[in-house]
Symmetry: C2
Subunit: 206 residues, 2 copies
């Protein structure tokens, strides 16, 4: 089945389903209903059924979804069933925290290189990877076939790092710096900024 | 004007507008068009006009939006024009990185307390705040009128921390642990998890 183009909202929810389904596997639970998923994920079961039905009929009435089958399906849709190499630029506290990603994931997507500009950091090891100078970025991105760049540098340096990542050939950027990046339309950017997250949350606080 | 209830998607975009508008103020730029905003934020100008028109007619044709007026309006909508105290639980690399938030923001929302369980960390100072033991959480949340909790502990401890935050009386949680939290319906949760972000991004990588 060819996967139809899906909305960004659904793309955002699929990894959340996946995370919980993998937790069920760890607990040896083999089937799950949309009602249970809704309860545990604090989401509307009808929304979950709708999201999942979009990719074909996975669930069976009265039995629910087969966990392992659903995991394979979602991984297929998100294209997680392939190797996907990630570079991290910025080896400060945030970069070091995020470099732990590899340690906790069973995915084929992994951080394979870390860059910084601080001479005091170059050569140090983070998560079994050496911190490399940013001047090596272009060469390493090409050599290791890196497709995604994570930006954890200060706001003032973020656009410049994004430009270098794009020039080196990445097709996706996950930006943690508090600034909107400008990239060519073929490059996809997702942003995660604690200030905007907190401000959005403030709206809901009475 | 009473603000109508707005969608989560709009609530998520308003802080992004705000961030760029504040950047314009820093550059002494007084008016901006939806076209310019769209260009700089990599967003559709029609979407921006629609989002902003929702709260009344801010913009004038041919002149655009008055930056400082728009900032005040958005701050009002997000209720950022009041003090809002935040607690951070988990003083690892991520917690320390996020505690820098106060240093870069001019908002009235600020992190006022940091908690951990590691005896080696208690009493140390991060961003001019002492790291306190989590057993002080309930008392400090009440004393400092803390309304939002940020969770930067490992996944295995996150639900327990959320329970304690809710019990202490916070109404919002920003969760960085890779797990879906269950909270009472009156508590609003936003999540930021690098794994789900990367997985969502993977969908767009050819």
């Amino acid at each position: 089945m060819k996967t139809p183009k899906i909305s960004e909202a659904v793309v955002r929810r699929l990894p959340v389903y996946l995370r919980y389904l993998q937790h069920l596997v760890d607990m040896n639970i083999r089937t799950v209903s949309s009602y249970e998923l809704g309860q545990k994920l604090d989401m509307n079961p009808a929304q979950i059924r709708k999201d999942l039905a979009y990719f074909g009929e996975f669930g069976r009435k009265g039995i629910g979804y087969e966990v392992s089958y659903l995991i394979e399906k979602i991984k297929g849709i998100l294209k997680l069933d392939r190797n996907l190499n990630v570079a991290l630029v910025g080896a400060g506290h945030l970069g070091i925290a995020l470099s732990n990603y590899n340690r906790y994931t069973k995915e084929k997507m992994s951080i394979v290189a870390i860059f910084d500009t601080d001479p005091a950091k170059i050569g140090l090891s983070v998560g079994n990877m050496p911190i490399r100078h940013i001047d090596e970025l272009d060469r390493v991105v090409k050599e290791l076939d890196i497709r995604i760049g994570m930006i954890t540098v200060p706001a003032t340096a973020a656009q410049q790092v994004a430009d270098r990542l794009v020039e080196a050939g990445v097709s996706g950027i996950l930006n943690f710096a508090p600034v909107s990046l400008r990239v060519p339309s073929e490059v996809h950017v997702r942003s995660s900024d604690v200030t905007t997250e907190l401000q959005a949350l403030a709206y809901y606080i009475d």
